[in-house]
Amino acid sequence: MNETSPSLPLQRPLFVTERTDNWWLGPTATGLGLLFFVAYLTWAAFQGVHFYVGPEDAPYYLSPLYSPWIQADWWPFSPAFLILWAPGGFRFTCYYYRKAYYRAFSLSPPGCAVGGRAHNYKGERVLFLFQNLHRFFLYLAVLFVFVLAYDAWLAFQFPDGWGIGAGSIVLTLNAVFLGAFTFGCNSLRHLVGGNVDCFSCVAFGRPRFKIWRIVTRFNEHHMEWAWISLFWVCFTDLYVRLVSMGIVGDLRIL
C-alpha cells in the first residue's frame, strides 16, 4: 500500500454526533430507571420492618429483599443487608447491567457513534477485572431462585390452611421472573455448554447441547428479563409491605 494519509481529527467531544434520531432517550431512560429502582431497594432494605405477612415464626408472605430471613442477634442492622449483596452483586456484574450502566453513567459510550467521555479508558482490564467473578454471583443467584421458589410455595400456606391470595401470585411470579433472568445468564450459558467446542465429541454432548440451547433462548431476552424481574422484586416487596402495614388488604382468591 501507499503512504498513509494523515488522519482527520475525527474524534468527537462528549455527546457530539451527526445522529438525527433520539439516541439519548435510551440511556436516559435506563439511567433514570436504574436510579429509581436502586433508590427504592435501598430505602426498603433500610426499613427492617413490614417485610412479611403472617406470624413472625412462620410468615406466609416474605419480601424477597429479606429472604432467606436470617435472624441474627449480633447483626444490628436490617436483615436485608445480610443477603442483598448477593443478588446485588449478581446484577452489578451481569453482562446486561454492565452495558446499561457503562452507557448511562460512565458515558463510555453514551450512545453508538456518539462522542464519549474523554478519560484514560481501561475497560474491564484493571479496576473492573472483578467483573470476571460474575459466575460466583451466579452460583449464589441460582440458590436464591430456589429459596424464592420455596417462598412462593409458602405463600400458598396460610394459617387456616392451603389457599391462594393475590400475594401468592405475586410471589410466584417473582420466582418465575427471577428464574427466567437467572437461567439466561451469560455465565451460565458458558458453563452449561458454551465452553464446549464440539458437542458431538464430548460425553453427554447431546443433552448439554439441548440445555445450552434452552439457556440461549432465555439469554436472547436477558435484558427484558432483567427489567421485568427487577421491577417485580420491588413490586413484591412493596406489596408485602403494604399488606403488612395494613394499607391494602390481601385479596383471597381461594
Partner: protein
C-alpha cells in the same frame, strides 16, 4: 519518469478465488509472489457467488463420480468445452473442496457429519458443496485468511493499466494506486491474470463495477488469443424490481431448494421448454415434478423438474414468456419458493436471499413470489490457455478463473465456477512459479512502452477532452444490451461493431474533473478502454457464429449447427485490428465420447 518499482517472481492480477489460490500455490513453490487487486482484499466478486462449488464428492449421492461430472459439464457446455480442461477439472475438484475445509472453511454438513451437497441446474446429482447461500464468501475468506500467512504481498486498491512486455514475453504490469493516483510498475518473471469477468459491458448485470474485462483486454493487447468470446451467460434469475437493484443475482440455489418458475397466471411454464438434448431426463408433468424432492436421490418416476435446466435454456424461456405477454408486472417471471418450502427451511437454506428481498424490495420470499429476469452474469469465453499449466500463447503470461476460456464451452453450469477458480488457480500458480523458476534473469522494461502507457493513462486530464466517461460507459452498455445481448441478429451485431468504432473514438476524448487522488471518474475513463475492447471481441465473435448454442442465441439462426459444433472462435490482435478465426477443436477420445451418451439414472460402472 522514475516510478515506484516493485519486483516479484510472480505477479498475480486479481485477488478473487483464482488469484488467491494461484498466489498460495506459487508461494508454496518458493516463488516470491505479489497480488495486485483493484479493491480491498476480500471484496472480490467471488464473494458474490452464492450457490456452491461443484465436485463429485459423493457424500450426498453415492452414484456420482468425476465421469458424470465430466458428462454434465460438456453437455451443459453444448459440446464446445476443451475436454482436457474438463477432465482435469472434474478429477481434481473433490481435492480442492477438501483442501478448503482443511484451511478452515465450514461447509454445511450431512447427518453423518460430512460435506452436504445440493442440487443445481444441469447437474445430474446433488453435487454442490455449499454454505447456505454464501459459498463464495466462505471460499474467499478461507483463501484470504490462509493466504496472509503464506508470505504473499498484497497490493490493494491498485489498478493495472497494461502489461509490461520484454519483446514478446511478459515482464510485469504497470499500474496506479487508486488512493493517490500515482503510478507503480511491477516487474516480474511471470504474470498471472485472475481478473474475472466483464459484466459491466451490459446495463443489466449481476457484476460489480470491477468486472470490466481487464484481464481479457490486457492479454489481448499483449498478443494473447481470446476464445469463445461470443458466449456470455445471462443468469435467468436476476432481480427486476425495484430499478435500483435490477440485475442483482437471485441464486440458482432457490431452484435447487425446490423453487419453481411461474407465468403471470401462476402456470409453471418450464415444462414447455425442455430441449431435445435433455428430453426424457426431466419431469414432464407438474405431477411428476412434485414427487421430486431436493436432497433425495431421484428415481425414474421422479425426475428433476425442468426449472433446473441449464441457465441458457431457462433464461431464454423467461425471455420468451415475457415476449409472449405472460410475464410479471415488471417484465420478468415469477419465482416461487414460498409454496415449495417451509418458512424455516427458506430462512435456513437461503438466508441471504430472504434478507436481500426483505431489505431491498420489501418482499417476503417465504410468503410471496419473487420477480426475476435474465441478467448478464458470466463470460464463458476468455484468454485461451493450456489446460495443464494455464499458460497463454504469450510466454510468461498465465490466466485462470473467469478470465480464462475453454472450460465451460458455450454455457457454464452453476457451481462449476467456484471449482474452476480453485482447480485452475492452483494450476496457474504452479505453472507461473515453474516458469519463473526456469528464468534466470528478470525480463527488461521497455521505457518507450512505459511512456506510451503513461501518456494514454493521463490523457483524460487534458483540457482538450469533451466526453463524460460515465456517459460513454452508459452508451456502451446500452449498445451491448441491445445489439449483442441475450438474443442477437446479424444486422444488429454488424451495427454494434460500427457503434463500437464511434465509442472507441469517444473514449479517447474523455475528460475528467479533479485530480488523480481517488478519482472514480478517471478510473472509469481508463476502464472504458478495456470494456470497449472486450465488447468488440464479444460482438465480432457473435457475428460470425451463425447458429444458436448455449449462451449465444441468434434470432436469425435459431438452430445449432453440427459444423459449428466442431469449432471455437478465436480472436487476436493483428496489426492493430481485431481478427477472428474458427479453429477446429481436438475431438473427444473414444472413451470420453462414450460417457456423453451414458444413460442417465443408472449406476455408472
Amino acid at each position: 519518469m522514475n516510478h515506484e518499482t516493485i519486483e516479484h517472481d510472480v505477479i498475480i492480477i486479481g485477488a478473487g478465488g483464482a488469484g488467491l489460490r494461484a498466489a498460495i500455490e506459487a508461494s508454496g513453490k518458493g516463488a516470491s509472489v505479489g497480488v495486485v487487486c483493484k479493491s480491498l482484499l476480500g471484496k472480490a466478486h467471488t464473494a458474490m457467488a452464492e450457490g456452491g462449488m461443484a465436485a463429485a464428492l459423493t457424500t450426498a449421492d453415492p452414484r456420482d463420480n468425476w465421469e458424470m461430472h465430466f458428462r454434465d459439464t460438456i453437455r451443459g457446455g453444448k459440446m464446445l468445452n476443451n475436454w482436457r480442461m474438463v477432465k482435469i477439472f472434474t478429477q481434481e475438484a473433490p481435492d480442492r473442496v477438501n483442501e478448503l475445509e482443511e484451511w478452515g472453511a465450514l461447509f454445511d454438513r450431512t447427518d453423518d457429519g460430512r460435506i452436504l451437497q445440493r442440487n443445481f441446474g444441469g447437474h445430474q446429482y446433488a453435487r454442490l458443496a455449499h454454505v447456505g447461500d454464501r459459498t463464495g464468501l466462505e471460499m474467499l475468506r478461507t483463501l484470504q485468511n490462509h493466504g496472509i500467512h503464506q508470505g504473499i504481498e498484497v497490493y490493494m486498491e491498485c489498478t493495472v493499466v497494461d502489461l509490461l512486455m520484454d519483446g514478446g514475453k511478459a515482464a510485469g504490469a504497470f499500474a496506479y494506486w487508486r488512493d493517490s493516483g500515482t503510478f507503480v510498475q511491477f516487474r516480474a518473471k511471470a504474470v498471472v491474470l485472475a481478473t474475472g469477468g466483464l459484466g459491466k459491458c451490459y446495463t443489466i448485470t449481476s457484476n460489480s463495477w470491477e468486472c470490466t474485462g481487464d484481464g481479457q483486454a490486457l492479454a489481448y493487447r499483449a498478443g494473447a488469443e481470446l476464445i469463445d468470446m461470443e458466449f456470455v451467460q445471462f443468469h435467468p434469475t436476476g432481480m427486476v424490481w425495484p430499478p435500483s437493484v435490477r440485475g442483482l443475482l437471485v441464486t440458482e440455489g432457490v431452484r435447487g431448494e425446490g423453487g419453481v418458475l411461474r407465468d403471470k397466471d401462476g402456470k409453471r411454464f418450464m415444462f414447455d421448454y425442455i430441449p431435445e438434448m435433455f428430453a426424457g431426463e426431466y419431469a414432464e408433468t407438474e405431477e411428476e415434478a412434485k414427487r421430486w424432492r431436493p436432497g433425495v436421490p431421484e428415481g425414474p418416476d421422479a425426475r428433476r423438474p425442468p426449472d433446473l435446466l441449464t441457465r441458457d435454456v431457462v433464461a431464454r424461456a423467461i425471455r420468451a414468456e415475457v415476449r409472449a405477454g405472460r410475464g410479471s408486472p415488471h417484465g420478468g417471471a415469477y419465482l416461487d419458493i414460498a409454496s415449495q418450502a417451509s418458512e424455516a427451511q427458506i430462512k435456513k437454506k437461503l438466508p441471504g436471499m430472504y434478507h436481500q428481498f426483505m431489505q431491498l424490495a420489501s418482499l417476503d420470499i417465504t410468503k410471496e413470489y419473487m420477480e426475476v429476469g435474465p441478467t448478464s452474469h458470466y463470460v464463458m469465453g476468455g484468454v485461451r490457455v493450456d489446460p495443464e499449466t494455464c499458460s497463454t500463447s504469450v510466454p510468461g503470461l498465465f490466466a485462470a478463473g473467469e478470465v480464462a476460456g475453454g472450460l465451460h464451452g458455450a454455457n457454464r453450469l452453476g457451481g462449476n465456477s467456484l471449482t474452476d477458480l480453485m482447480v485452475f488457480g492452483r494450476r496457474a500458480g504452479a505453472g507461473a512459479a515453474e516458469y519463473a523458476g526456469a528464468l534466470s534473469a528478470m525480463p527488461g522494461v521497455n521505457p518507450d512502452q512505459v511512456r506510451d502507457i503513461e501518456r494514454l493513462a493521463l490523457a483524460p486530464f487534458e483540457e482538450s477532452g469533451t466526453e463524460n466517461p460515465y456517459e460513454v460507459m452508459q452508451d456502451l452498455q446500452k449498445m451491448m444490451e441491445h445489439d449483442s445481448g441475450i438474443v442477437r441478429a446479424k444486422e444488429e451485431l454488424a451495427d454494434g461493431l460500427g457503434k463500437l468504432r464511434t465509442l472507441k473514438e469517444r473514449s479517447v476524448k474523455v475528460r475528467v474533473e479533479g485530480n488523480r487522488q481517488y478519482n472514480p471518474g478517471w478510473h472509469y475513463a481508463l476502464d472504458l478502454h478495456n470494456l470497449i475492447m472486450v465488447s468488440e471481441a464479444i460482438t465480432l465473435s457473435a457475428l460470425h457464429r451463425d447458429e444458436s448454442r448455449g449462451g449465444h442465441t441468434r434470432e436469425d439462426f435459431p438452430e445449432s449447427s453440427p459444423e459449428l459444433e466442431k469449432v471455437n472462435t478465436v480472436v487476436r490482435n493483428r496489426d492493430g485490428e481485431m481478427a477472428w478465426e474458427h479453429v477446429t477443436r481436438e475431438p473427444l477420445p473414444g472413451d470420453l465420447q462414450e460417457l456423453l451418451s451414458h444413460p442417465h439414472l443408472e449406476e455408472p460402472n
